[in-house]
Amino acid sequence: MREGEGDPGLYDYVPYRARPRITWPGGKQIAVWVSPNLEFYELDPPANPHRKSWPKPHPDVVGYSHRDYANRVGHWRMAEVMEKHGFKGSVSLSVALCQHVPEVVAHANELGWEFFSHGIYNTRYSYGMDEAQERAIIEDSIRTVRDATGQTIKGWLAPALTHTPRTLDLIAEYGMSYTCDLYHDDQPMPVATKSGRLISMPYSLEVNDHYGFFIYNMSPREYAQTLIRQYERLAEEGEASGTVMCIPLHSYLIGQPHRIGPFEEVLRHIAADGRAWITRSGDIADHYLTHHADLAGGKA
């Protein structure tokens, strides 16, 4: 990025009108990917001077145990519903989950889910890291996911969405092809980096379940309606040029008993619609970079 400037210089302005046509496999109009955050939060993490881990003194029992619900209950419930309707996850992974609860990681891997890194823990933030420290968490992520799943991560969602000015350059340098940290578009876009070739993968942060339930205070049924409306609009627009919709999830939220039923109706709706390429983030990136290299730009 252009550090210190008003415009960080991450991408060019591209109006939504009259764009070149993006095509998805099978003539589909919208690429839909579901992104479960499989996370581990620490009970008593060290302090980062730029952001508190927990709002309350440690142990923040509700904060911690709410999130721990994911690995005991929510993940299994959410994964079963996704599998039933043919949705593979693209996992935003706290890579230390590979050590703490390898059962969850192995389960997701066996289901054919893709993994990208969401940092070591969701209680360790990138703010304030120097380059060597940031390289260390990237190398740790690559190594840990490879050892646990055999997969090579292709993407990055910064831990708790905490960045440094060099994050995007570094992940591109390490060979990753997409970032989920930029929210400027509903289509993949090239990102300017010092080396490599990086695209922004639309992550639909505004329909993240955390946003739905805690920023916009939606009921479970309102959130389900929101996702369906988001889908319908993007599917319609995708007739002109293929769009992307992500459904970013936390199983400690969507996997609660009052939410999972309404959410299942969303997956049923999308699976039955016929316009969706139901896929994974890495597959979207691969397709885009293979078939739309002219749009992807970059310095490869």
């Binding site: 029992v61 619900y69 703490h100 890291m129």
Partner: protein, 308 residues
């Protein structure tokens, strides 16, 4: 910029949890739980009975629902007292109509101040859970261990004096604990606590003072969360409870007994305009096949011998 090297060290990065209180466990791989009378889903209603002194205490934190204006905050003092005078009686009537017995999580101050209310609760067969001394009795790291021990002991002895029965369950204010709390609760002889919201069924914790059950009292399903924090309607609240029940009942067919926890607040749900819908919700639950109501004590007694 650079961070302290310790920020990239992970001493607890290991198989299992990053503490020793309990082990990781997958709800769907455990031996199925059987409930008494063949129930598939037990609804556990917990009604918080709270007295907020008009002089709030901010150490270690001010309790949710506490005073908000400059002193004297008549508005919130009396609105909270409304729950203990009026709202709770509406809830007790609703429980009676539905044939439900519940857990009443009471501050010790309620027993000392409103013995008639406690007598009515005990006469109806409800369970009393210890819910600290009063709403200034908050607990978090920073509270001296002996002070915390005294809060627990005073609460239990006051409630025992008022009811003739020593509570076996504990609910912390705002479910907030210190690192000492589980051990202090076990040391005090409590058989279960309700603070950790990481499961849909009871599980056992280890402490230096012996084991204690945790009965997860889902804060996301509480009236405080849905009606006050998220500002959804009573109709939506009831729909969400019904959706939750339906899902849990479906799982119970395959995975064994399930539990639906309803944490209810007299000054929130016990308002006149919310009661008709709450009445209907309890009637609806009571009419579902395989449904039963149970107290925390009954759930702990049933589940305890069936889990590791």
């Amino acid at each position: 910029m650079t961070l302290d090297p310790g920020y990239l060290e992970y001493p607890m990065r290991r198989h299992g949890m990053d503490h020793d209180l309990y082990s990781w466990s997958n709800l769907f791989e455990r031996a199925p739980i059987s409930w008494p009378n063949g129930s598939k889903v037990l609804t556990w209603i917990v009604i918080d009975l709270e007295w907020f002194p008009i002089v709030p205490n901010d150490k270690p934190f001010r309790a949710p629902g506490h005073m908000q204006t400059a002193y004297p905050d008549y508005r919130h003092y009396t609105s909270r007292d409304y729950g203990s005078r009026v709202g709770v009686y509406r809830l007790l009537d609703a429980l009676e109509k539905a044939g439900a017995r519940a857990s009443i999580a009471a501050n010790a101050a309620i027993a000392a101040r409103y013995p008639a209310l406690i007598a009515d609760i005990v006469a109806a067969g409800h369970e009393i859970i210890a819910h600290s001394t009063d709403m200034n009795g908050t607990i978090a790291t920073g509270v001296d261990e002996d002070d915390e021990r005294r809060i627990i002991a005073d609460t239990l002895s006051e409630l025992e004096k008022a009811t003739g029965t020593r509570p076996t369950g504990w609910l912390s204010i705002a479910r907030s604990q210190s690192f000492n709390t589980p051990a202090l609760l076990a040391e005090a002889g409590l058989s279960y606590m309700c603070d950790w919201v990481n499961d849909d069924l009871p599980y056992r914790m280890r402490t230096p003072e012996g084991p204690i059950l945790n009965l997860p009292l889902n804060h996301e399903l509480s009236d405080r969360q849905i009606l006050n924090v998220q500002q959804q309607s009573m109709a939506s609240y009831c729909q969400q409870m019904q959706d939750a029940f339906a899902w849990l009942a479906g799982e119970a067919e395959t995975f064994g007994g399930r539990m639906l926890s309803l944490n209810v607040t007299p000054y929130i749900t016990g308002l006149p305009y919310r009661m008709a819908e709450f009445d209907r919700l309890l009637q609806w639950l009571a009419a579902q096949p395989g449904h039963g109501f149970a107290t925390g004590g009954e759930i702990a007694a049933a589940a305890g011998p069936q889990i590791d």
